[in-house]
Symmetry: D2
Subunit: 346 residues, 4 copies
């Protein structure tokens, strides 16, 4: 194995033991395929419980599938999604939203990955004008691709503006757990803010595979099952996603995993503070640390702890922690950084 | 649990123990996401080994994803896929091929689920005529949706006609293992017949999730990685599909699982032979038994052993066996049929 | 010019003089583009007049554009259109419905080009089953691609079944005028039968370019303007389509043109009756004559009067008349047929 | 008629008399539909003549159709078009490129509507990374949406960078004639710069309808006829587009029309120079004048001479001239502006 510890992404981590146990436990007897099974029923119930609301949840394979199927479900193809330039949907899904939803993404620039309610107004000029795509969804990422968090108030402002102007609000919650662990709870952050639909992440928080599309606005769920199937996201042996989610959402495992990951990022950030050659570039609010580093140490460091360069222009890198990062990993990593820096300064 | 034994589909079965062990074994340490990991390297090698050829394999989530991404990769949208009316792609993917590939499916009727080379000729009339879609792929299912098998010679004839007329050949091999177990080996059946690309099934043969798109014609694999991502089929923690496939394809587990399922269908068919009220409607060549049954027994039978009605018009049902079907299941099922028939005749 | 007279299609004809005059008359001064002009207002009114109903009409470029934009407007991509195998949408639009609407076409076989209400029932089995596309539109062609006509009663039966089962009815009326001229009037045939939306043909009946999408069910027109634009069917200098339609629909020009074309087909058919080597294969109800002819005369005949072979298997050809066909054309054509047959029998 | 003179767009103009004459002259006898006719042959030849190259030209209905079908023809859906934020394709086609090509548009900001070669480099970072769309086309507009012109050298630099990096160059030439009239000739500007394909405008320069897609890189034309049909852009009575283009491209009518329009814009700009309340915001290089004006005069001015507000934020408007603008129109317009300003200052 080339890496014991990667800081490239929380999806470089393995599967949490409790999730693995749940998979093993679900592995007996036949059950009907495609979600018509008791594991999926139980999973539906636990989603209602954690949202403290009668949400409707659907399980899919991955985050791109969750995002694309969710927006496809809400849009006609001449309608558009407003999102940030850094949104996963805009940058990291190889054009799947455009290809599958047939829609256009209208982007806003940000410095911190967070869309502001006041950035939405200008898109309303297009309303009713048939030459322009018609804005219909505001999609925000919580926690953002830059590790930052929308406050309850910020989400409320976005939802208010959106709903006043006939727009839906979608939350890409690939790391929703990290946001909840940091500023939670889920019902305050999502349910009560009026968000319409959430891509609720699991894989980055200790699951093996599987994400959920959760409709708080249940009227929107009506046709989603067809969209899920047509978007190639319907799992035949669905019990194995359901059982994972049930384990993740029970006994606060999802919060605890995220909390631990967040803490490890905080620990890393704290230790980096003392290293003058490294500058942290985003507030460390969840499980990501963005920092500019001397170019020369990137490659040797990557050889021991894998991670991505975020911005080649300024040697900004992203380091992500996960449920299985431990204090010793951080210590070894910081030691390695110091070693490389020392070599550099010689 | 409502059913101990379902004959609805081989995807109602759980995961084979050896697959589960492989998952557990792979569950340690960090590895790079999206397939750039040692588990996936190993899996690539074992695919080359079983095809006895330098194939290029890509892992995806499910069969619909495998089929749709494979044909999208080979087609321009004005080109068409020729397949049978009963093809999974035509019937059971909720229009995903049309939606994602943007293409038309041109279908041929069959009685046994098998497309004949001589049915292809008429589609050539459209070639060059811009008002018509342009045929470009012949897609066959092996084993077919009706449980039947194409012989090596039949595949060769199809490939010969196709390649002589600038058409590719795709095999939907959701149950390729059942065909190989019945008439194998893989290299004779696929590699040496000249097939271009195969959707290579795993989930129905004991895996938890995951299918493979295997390019025998490697030139066609060039852009596939982008199509896989854009079709929402790229798994982040890919090692967990890779490890399953490696286990499945090692020590002939895939063949043994399929062989067992085939045998159980044969056993069921043998026992049904003696029941005059039930007529088997398709040759039992793999792990499916199609039969017409007295309408009155369908519902009570479904309550104990779940299965689907294939054709409401003639009360034809489909019973599928799997790696975990055992002789006792068959016995109990036959006993129940006899019991229901006896009740009916009273 | 290679042909003075073509029987290939009614779109081989030039533009009717009255239409040309209307274009010349509209050719003065500036007007706002994209339909916000007095010519288009007038055109909207005349559509309401001929339908005897408050229909909403939209002008597009061509028949494929009309059909595809109309169904796209009514469908979600997992929904399907039920049509005949011979439908223009299925055969002659190079897969544009699948590509643009993203939908599947579910086809029924016919001998006379006419879908029967009783052929619809079997598609209802798919309703609610997410693996199958969901039927949502029944599309019929009036007059059909085989020159035949649905009676008012036949349309009513189809509409009744459709509306009882949550399906819309679309009429591909590329040759609606020919049907109205034969069995009219429009309000009986379309408006009062409950049809939802019509592709209302103009080009084949003497216009230069332009078709109309007419919503009888006005609720369905709500978003159509965006679909028209997105489907590349919004004309900038729209007055030139509007002015043509206003001329066509005034003073019964559309009926008269179609009536004449129908009469010429009837005349041709009458004269063909006496020629024993030629067998008319469809009732001649509008402006098409389908006939089987000795293979040997096809090519020499095509060199003088262009037309298409409909079915290579039985040497069936299609001969279409138009508003500008005259009795002398028919006479010369019949004479040529006789000459070729005589040569053949020598 | 509400407006005698509109400055909203060059598509508010009627059809040039010579074009109308050509339509009348083509209006006799039958010819084969869909372009297999002598008018279209002649039109193909004249395109070769004006490009001074063996180009392959295809006629379509409108500019959106030309752009979308051209890029669809060149792209796989995971590939992307790089264009300016102000590009028609990005702003004014209601998402048709995303919907039909399935692709993403990657945009660059500009102040003058012109993409610079050095803006392209950053997109190369995505090459080979499957999470990102893959840039494949650079699309520039000549003349631009802001009335500006790329010099031969600027186009050459873009083409050089593009071809060195496996990118095609598309020119949206809805107003190519205005650019050629200003800095021509066509062969220097397009043919010899290495551009691959051009949307060659006709409608804005005096035609009734119709645009052309012209492949300088003929290898790319191979499948275009299917794309044209599938994108609903194949005209049945194509002779009426062909005859218009032949007239337009003969005797330099296209250059003369554009030259006149350019001159009228220059005249308008000259007269506006003297009005201190109005500031011209873009160099007047073709037939558009962009200017900021006192907000209060916009509405009363629009009531007499229709035009669009370009930017609500700074009261910037766009005034376009056309082949049929005359000096008197400009004089009346300037007089009206002065009258409104005088009223305002009272």
């Amino acid at each position: 194995m080339p890496y014991k510890k990667s800081f490239a992404s929380d999806n470089n981590a393995p599967v949490h033991d409790k999730i693995m146990e749940a998979l093993i436990k679900a592995n007996r007897d036949d059950v009907i395929a495609y979600g018509n099974d008791p594991y999926t029923d139980e999973c539906s119930k636990i989603f209602k419980k954690i949202f403290r609301y009668d949400v409707e949840s659907f399980l899919v394979y991955n985050g791109t599938g969750a995002n694309v199927s969710a927006v496809t479900n809400l849009l006609k193809p001449f309608q558009a999604v407003i999102c940030t330039e850094t949104a996963h949907m805009n940058n990291d899904e190889c054009g799947a939203p455009e290809k599958f939803a047939g829609c256009k993404l209208l982007t806003v620039p940000t410095t911190d990955g967070k869309l502001k309610a006041e950035q939405l107004k200008k898109f309303l000029h297009s309303k009713g004008f048939e030459h322009h795509v018609q804005p219909k969804i505001v999609s925000i990422t919580q926690a953002t691709e830059l590790g930052t968090i929308y406050s309850v108030k910020e989400i409320r402002n976005i939802v208010k503006f959106a709903h006043n102007n006939d727009l839906y609000v979608h939350v890409d919650g690939a790391r929703i757990a990290n946001a909840v662990a940091a500023i939670g709870p889920l019902n305050k952050l999502i349910t009560e803010t009026g968000v319409d639909v959430v891509s609720f992440g699991g894989t980055k928080n200790g699951m093996m595979f599987g994400e959920a599309v959760v409709f708080v606005n249940k009227a929107l769920a009506q046709n989603y099952k067809y969209i899920r199937k047509q978007s190639m996201q319907l799992a035949s042996k669905m019990r194995y996603i359901s059982a994972q989610y049930t384990a993740l959402l029970s006994n606060e495992l999802w919060i605890n995993n995220a909390h631990h990951a967040n803490n490890m990022a905080k620990l890393m950030a704290d230790k980096l503070e003392d290293i003058s050659e490294i500058n942290i570039t985003q507030p460390v609010q969840t499980n990501a640390v963005f920092a500019t580093v001397p170019k020369e140490i990137i490659k040797p460091l990557q050889e021991k702890f894998f991670f991505y360069i975020w911005n080649h222009a300024n040697n900004e890198v992203r380091w992500m922690t996960s449920f299985n990062t431990d204090e010793k990993d951080i210590k070894l990593f910081i030691d390695e950084i110091k070693k490389q820096l020392a070599r550099l300064l010689k």
